[in-house]
Symmetry: C2
Subunit: 410 residues, 2 copies
C-alpha cells in the first residue's frame, strides 16, 4: 500500500464529465489498496471569470479581497469531485486550504507555504477516505485567506506529498509528459521518459508550463518522487522527474524552454562602485517584484548599465520603483522593453561538454537573430531576443542539438 498524491489541473476538471473521469481514475488507485490525496484546481476559466468580476469593482482589486473571491474556484471543484468519488461507493471528504490547514505567509495573491498540518488528513486517510484538497489556497497566521499565485496547485500537490511523506506525487495535466520543447512550436519535439530534477527546475523556471517552479523546488527539497502524466490518457507512464544522473544515458541537452512573459528593464549611467547593484535591487525586492535574469557589464567612464528582467505584468510597477532609485543613486535613465522573449537550452550534460554555448550562438546567428542579453548557469544557457524571433530561435536550436532524435549515450 502506497500513499499517492494526485494533482489535477483546471482542464482535467473542466466539466462534469471530466470530473467523473478523475473520480474513476482516483477510484482505480484506491481499489489497488493505495491511500489517495487529490489536489484540484478551479474548473478551467473559472479563476479568470472571478478575477474579471473583481475587476468590475476595481481595476486594481484589493489583494486580500481578491484572494477571498478567487479561492472559491477550487472550493467548488473539491466538493464536486468529492461527490463524484462518493458516487462510486468510496468514502471521500473535501478540504479547503483553511480546513487542512495549510499555512502561508501573508503575501496575498502570491503567498508561500509555511506549514501544513497533516493530522486531520491523516485521520481521514486512515479511516479509508479519499482526501480532496483545494489547490492554490491557504491561510496566513491571522486566518486571512491567501492564494499561491498562478499554477499554485502544483505547489500544493507537492507540498502535501512532502507533509504526508507520500510515495509519489502525480501531476495530471493536458499533456502526456515533459517534451524537449513545446510541440506546438516544434512538431518534432519528443517526450522524455525521465528528466533530472535540476533540468526540470530550469525548464520550469524558464517558463515551460508543464510544472510550476515552486512545485519542482519543493519536490527537490523534500525528495518527492514526481511524475507528470496526462489526465486524458489511460495508458502511459508520463515523465518521471529523477534525482539520479546517469551520464551513460544523459543527452547533452534535454530541452528548450521559452518565455514571452517577461519584460527587460535597463538603468543607464549607474555610478560604477561597489554595492550599487544592491541599491538597485533591494527596492525591487521590497516591492515584492521577482527578478529573473540580471546582467551587468563592465563599466567605462565611471558608470555602467544594469539590466534585469521581471514578469511583464510587473513592468510598470518596477519602472516606478526604478525612477525613484535613479534619483537616489544618480543614474541617468531608465528604459523598459516588453517586446522581448527568453529562450534557453537546458541539460545536465552540458556540464561535461565544452562548446555548447558557441554552438547555440552560432545556430542563432545563422538565422540572423540578435542576442540582447545572455545569462548562464551550470546546466542552462538563456538568451533574450526580440519577441518576434522567438519561435524561429526555438526551432533552430531544436534542430541544432538534434533533440528530435533518441539520445545515444553521451
Amino acid at each position: 500500500m502506497a500513499l499517492i498524491v494526485q494533482k489535477y489541473g483546471g482542464t482535467s476538471v473542466g466539466s462534469v464529465e471530466r470530473i467523473r473521469n478523475v473520480a474513476e481514475r482516483v477510484a482505480k488507485f484506491k481499489m489497488l489498496g493505495h491511500q489517495v490525496v487529490v489536489v484540484v484546481s478551479a474548473i478551467s476559466g473559472e479563476t479568470n471569470r472571478l478575477i474579471a468580476l473583481a475587476k468590475e469593482i476595481n481595476k486594481d482589486p484589493d489583494p486580500r479581497e481578491l484572494d477571498v473571491i478567487v479561492s472559491t474556484g477550487e472550493q467548488v471543484t473539491i466538493a464536486l469531485l468529492a461527490m463524484a468519488i462518493k458516487d462510486l461507493g468510496l468514502k471521500a471528504k473535501s478540504y479547503t486550504g483553511w480546513q487542512v490547514p495549510l499555512r502561508t505567509d501573508n503575501a496575498y495573491t502570491k503567498a508561500r507555504i509555511e506549514h501544513i498540518d497533516d493530522q486531520a488528513m491523516r485521520a481521514d486517510l486512515n479511516s479509508g477516505h479519499v482526501v480532496v484538497v483545494a489547490g492554490f489556497q491557504g491561510i496566513d497566521a491571522d486566518n486571512n485567506i491567501t492564494t499561491l499565485g498562478r499554477g499554485g496547485s502544483d505547489t500544493t500537490g507537492v507540498a502535501l506529498a512532502a507533509a504526508l511523506k507520500a510515495d509519489e506525487c502525480q501531476i495530471y495535466t493536458d499533456v502526456d509528459g515533459v517534451y524537449t520543447t513545446d510541440p506546438r512550436i516544434v512538431p518534432e519535439a519528443r517526450k522524455l521518459d525521465t528528466i533530472t530534477f535540476e533540468e526540470m527546475l530550469e525548464l520550469a523556471s524558464l517558463g515551460s508550463k508543464v510544472l510550476q517552479i515552486r512545485a519542482v523546488e519543493f519536490a527537490g527539497k523534500y525528495h518527492i518522487k514526481l511524475r507528470v502524466l496526462s489526465s486524458f490518457e489511460d495508458e502511459g507512464e508520463g515523465t518521471l522527474i529523477t534525482f539520479e544522473e546517469n551520464s551513460m544515458e544523459q543527452p547533452v541537452i534535454s530541452g528548450i524552454a521559452f518565455n514571452r512573459d517577461e519584460a527587460k528593464l535597463t538603468i543607464l549611467g549607474v555610478p560604477d562602485k561597489p554595492g550599487v547593484a544592491g541599491l538597485i535591487l533591494a527596492p525591487i525586492a521590497d516591492a515584492n517584484i521577482d527578478v529573473d535574469m540580471i546582467v551587468q557589464n563592465v563599466g567605462h567612464d565611471g558608470t555602467t548599465d544594469f539590466s534585469f528582467t521581471v514578469q511583464r505584468s510587473e513592468m510598470k510597477k518596477a519602472m516606478d520603483v526604478l525612477e525613484i532609485v535613479k534619483g537616489a543613486i544618480g543614474a541617468r535613465e531608465v528604459i523598459g522593453a516588453d517586446k522581448i522573449a527568453k529562450v534557453s537550452i537546458v541539460g545536465v550534460g552540458m556540464r561535461t561538454h565544452a562548446g555548447i554555448a558557441s554552438k547555440m550562438f552560432k545556430a542563432l546567428a545563422a538565422e540572423n537573430i540578435n542576442i540582447q542579453m545572455i545569462s548562464t548557469s551550470e546546466i542552462k544557457i538563456s538568451v533574450v531576443v526580440e519577441d518576434k524571433y522567438m519561435e524561429l530561435a526555438v526551432r533552430a536550436l531544436h534542430q541544432a542539438f538534434e533533440l528530435d532524435k533518441e539520445p545515444a549515450s553521451a
Copy 2:
C-alpha cells in the same frame, strides 16, 4: 455613535452597480459616526446556479459537499462589497463564516447557530473598519462548512446583532416594508409602519417572504430592534418590528400570510391510544424533517386519523418514513397531498376580539372554498385549502377584515 448591523439580500447585491449602491449606503452610516457590520447574501441567482452544478454530479447531492459549494456564493459577495467600500475611502474587511467564527450544529443545509465569537469583528470595528460578513454560512464543531438554509442570511444578521449587542438590525430587501399581504396578489395591500414581534413571527412562520422566521425568533429572544427597509429607495423608514403592544392603535388583524410550499400527510386508521402521536412524529423529527401544522381529530372505532404538513420538498422523504411507521404502529394507510396551500390571518388584536374565526370561515364559505385543515394559535388562525383557491382566499380575507384601510383604534 451606534452599532448597526445591516443585511442585504441577493437582489440588493444583484449586480456590480447595486453592490456599489450598497457600499454608498454603508458609507452614509459610517460617515454619521456609526459602527457598521454588513451581512450579505449571494448575488441573486448564484445559489441556484451552484446547486444546479452540484446536481449535475448527483441529483441528490451529498449535504456536506453541497454546503462547501453553496457557501462560495456569499464568499464572493463579501469580497466584492469590501472592495467597493474601500473604494469610497473607508476601511473594510470581509469575513467568511469560519473567519468570524460563527459556530453551528452539524445539520448540513439547515444548520442552527450555536455561538458567535465577536472578538475579531469587535477589534476591526474598533479600529474603524466596516465588517462585511457572509450570511447563511457557518462551521460546526469539527470545522465542517455548514449553511443555515434558504433565507439564512437574515438569521445571520440578527444573530450578529445579538452577539455584538447592536443598537439596530436593518434588513434591506426589495420591498419597502411589511405589508398586510403580498401586493402582487392583493393590490390594495398596505405597508405597516410597525408590527409586533409576535405578529412578525407568525407572518414569517407562515411563509411571508420578507423575513426568515429564525431571524425573527432570534430578534425576539435577544430583544433586537429590527427594521425592514428597501435597498432601492433612499427615503422611508420601512417597518419597525416592535416589542410594545398598544391596544389603542392595534388593529384586530395585521396581515394575511400564505404558503404554497407545503404538503399534507395523513396516516389513516391509527390505533387511538396515548403516545401514538409521539410514535408518529419522533421518526419524522429524527429524519430532520420540520413539521408545521398538526391535526388529530377525535377517534371512532378505536382508531383515529392523524395529519400534518411538511415542506413540500420533503414530502417524499416523510412518506417513506411514514410507511415504516405505519407498519410499526399498525395503521391502515398513508396519504400524501401536495396540491394544498395554507392561508393565515395574524394579529395580536384577535386576543381580545371574539368572532374572528367565524368571520374568517364565513368569508371563505362565501367564495365556496372548502377548508381541509384548521390550526390556531393565540394570534393566528391558519387554514389549509386546495392550492387553486389560495389567491381567492387571500383576497376575500383582505377585504373581509378591511386591511386596505388605516386602522382606527381597536
